[in-house]
Symmetry: C2
Subunit: 556 residues, 2 copies
Amino acid sequence: MTQASSPEGALRVIPFGGLGDIGRNMMLYEYGDDAIAVDAGLMFPDDEHLGVDIIIQDYSYLRENPDLLKALFITHGHEDHIGAAAFLLREFPVPVFCTRLTRGLLQVKLKDHKLLDEIDVQVVEPGQTIHVGDFGVEFFSVSHSIPDSAGMIIKTPLGPVVHTGDFKIDHTPVMGQHTDLTRLAEVGREGALLLCADSTYAEVEGSTPSEQIVAERLEHAIANAPGRVIVTTFASLISRVQMVLDAAVKHDKRVFVTGRSMVNNVQMARDLGYLEAPDQVLMSVREMREHPAHKTVIVCTGSQGEPNAALTRIANGSHQHITIQEDDTVVLSSNPVPGNEKSVSKNINGLFEAGANVIYNRIDNVHVRGHAAREELKIVHRIVQPRHFVPMHGEYRHLVMHAHLAMQLGMPADDAFVLEDGDVLEITADGADIVDEISADYIYVDGLGVGDIDHVVLRDRAHLASDGMLVIVAAVDRHDGKLTGPPEVMSHGFIGPDDEAEIYDGARRIVVDMLGGEAQSVNWRELHDNLKDDLARFLYERTHRRPLVLPVMLEV
Amino acid sequence: MTQASSPEGALRVIPFGGLGDIGRNMMLYEYGDDAIAVDAGLMFPDDEHLGVDIIIQDYSYLRENPDLLKALFITHGHEDHIGAAAFLLREFPVPVFCTRLTRGLLQVKLKDHKLLDEIDVQVVEPGQTIHVGDFGVEFFSVSHSIPDSAGMIIKTPLGPVVHTGDFKIDHTPVMGQHTDLTRLAEVGREGALLLCADSTYAEVEGSTPSEQIVAERLEHAIANAPGRVIVTTFASLISRVQMVLDAAVKHDKRVFVTGRSMVNNVQMARDLGYLEAPDQVLMSVREMREHPAHKTVIVCTGSQGEPNAALTRIANGSHQHITIQEDDTVVLSSNPVPGNEKSVSKNINGLFEAGANVIYNRIDNVHVRGHAAREELKIVHRIVQPRHFVPMHGEYRHLVMHAHLAMQLGMPADDAFVLEDGDVLEITADGADIVDEISADYIYVDGLGVGDIDHVVLRDRAHLASDGMLVIVAAVDRHDGKLTGPPEVMSHGFIGPDDEAEIYDGARRIVVDMLGGEAQSVNWRELHDNLKDDLARFLYERTHRRPLVLPVMLEV
């Protein structure tokens, strides 16, 4: 058990995350007896996390210090920043502070977890400051790929901390939200204690292009398409949906929205006033069916090749309402998130095979990133001029490169801290250092289970996935130790039907040979292990596969 | 059964491949009673092909026409061009024609399959023509990422076919092999019937940079590193290994080679004279241990993040001989192949965490591609001026884009054929058309099994991978239909140990409730199905997971 013990006059900074996306998912700031968390995001499982739905943080440090956490602040509404909030809040029902759209998205999650009435979620405007213990947290607006994104200026007795959240610098943002460089410059002039900044694109030279470029290319595609235009993007990328709607209105086309999360987000964004979508522009599925193709635009989910999303079903011909027809144009206004390259690629190939013309980022500028590249990061470092720096949000290599960038701009190497999850950075008036390491593991959520899946379960799943399993069941008479009949064999995921009979016969023979002889004075454990080994050896010799072998012997 | 029936005076072209890499893996050319195959490559399994080792072509068409295939021609020694050759040749032991290095690589495979003495593999030099039936196959040299790559000019009574194989146009290749544009221009002037050309980079604008750029950057890295330099690349990329050796010699460093395929390839390439590696430059593991770090270069496998390859083990700290130390520089002279992005990324992060400086393609030009981009493709189209065009080697979208490129250069749309695997393109003096479709499926190889794994087995594996399995075994007295004792339960990959007891109890209760009552007049099938349904429902309610449920009832 680790005691929270922020000494008098010290600020402690602890990133929680995992899977290399350090600090993306939750950052804890501690001063005296109080802590605030910034963001509580989920991580998406990798291929190795078979069957795992999502991955969240390990809250055991907070459990060991149950009165420590006083509030949760959320920068914006993306899953990797709000997706674990319900899991955190059901254990620690602290008040939450965020902007309006983020609140809308969070409340959907709280409702799913039946926490809507339990948790107080307060809307904060940029410029407003929330006081919690010795902290004063001021929100400032940032430009990112979802509206209402914010960074935080966390005022502490030692000086202000700038926590950027995810951001880019876009001088012509489509929905009007700039990164507030002016406010950051003021903080810098007054003297910033610490900068914690987005590192996602710290390996990309130059600057991220403006959303404005995408608006032009999307309009071009919609204006010039000979038939329907089907656009997919992230459901949370409201500004992109707005661009499509604007282009449709301008060119006298109507829009059909499909895919559960896209429909929900469009609805929510309209209700909260983040999306301007005149009723006569949106159409129902019935209206779409009768609407001329060259006047039809479809906005759908599936930009990441998710197996059941709308675009994937359109691409493989299994969508209920939409079949690719001549002159269809499909626009993927998105990039594949690392790990999704193949499934996105498969969709693009499927759409071409079905006869569509497909436009994607490799061949036209129909997507820009939501994160700052190196030249933008330099601007922030230059104007904030922090005393200390913690790169956050990114894989380990991005953090290292971001730290190098800070040093290139003149920061002494021992003021830049590449933290790992659970590292406790302690900052006092005299300096900063990593003083401790707490448990900041990751916790697998699978179905209803939170944390019961461990590496043993995952190893078994990997074993089953690779070679399947074989069960052999024999009943043995308790009086004479003899088999009461031929063993039953069954397998799944192991071999095809043609070879089954022969392999099963061989497996039965091994059991009969071992058990079928004279009466046994049986050491069951030993027998079981021998049987398992012999069966495994036989199966490997015959197939060069290693299924999970389960011999079951019943004494009857 | 499909009869090979190339009518008098017709050339038939049939691509075999699968998984979207159309025509990459094998192309069949048929004229009269004779067919020749060009390449016989393997495909690597996707995530969905759980446990599958490799994927090869379906040879049932050749089986149905057993005397059709007369020879196999191979363009170069990459796995996706030679990896299935042994499977093809063990059924159809035809003579093979290829360049010298390709022969060396093929013979390793034939030896593994105990076919070395059965198969006649003849070395062909560029410019040489091999006659098979009405075909005359002339090899021409091309520039690609393995030495001794060739394209083929396949002379037929209808005119010559240009089959490029994989290629790029490199005016300053490191190992001296240019793409023979002069010969292609001659063929074009005489009138080419058909062009089949590499489409892998048909979506990339411009030209692929020369290997020369990589040579410079690699030398820069090796010359300026403060400590050891660890370079990884594809084991077949002999020219890249040569660059490293050259730079090491120039800067008075010595080289240790590690990783099985790298060691084998370096050995083979030295034996055949493709790699100049003075004995005093290479060092053993013992020599390496005592050699000064700043004079040490290591060349290793693992550029794709393969789980057991050298670099992966170095990155996760499990390599037998090499532990990352201060001032190590790691160079990834390679790009991740689609699907490997995450594992490569994980290695890079691990190396940074271990303290290495890592140089990879995103941050320095330490790799160039081996395929022609659009401007290079245009050159080939322009000088070959084919009557017909078949884009090959690439995903479907690349084929479409390559066909569009041909049309942009003036080819009529109905002379460019985007073929799918198994499509039979028939070309006569009058024109060309797709006239038939044969079975050109893909066949999974898993362990010793070729083709026994089908979609049912893969579906079971996916099911097991996602939620694991639960077996429950009960013995029932054949006289009174009653349970002889409590059922046995076991599971794998389903739940963690904490919840096991409770879930198992619940499952047992369901069996007891169904079987434990009064004597049954049992419909075993029905009972089994009901039990399975009830168990599945119970397990889902309690866990929201759907393991494979296997109830086994033994009558005793």
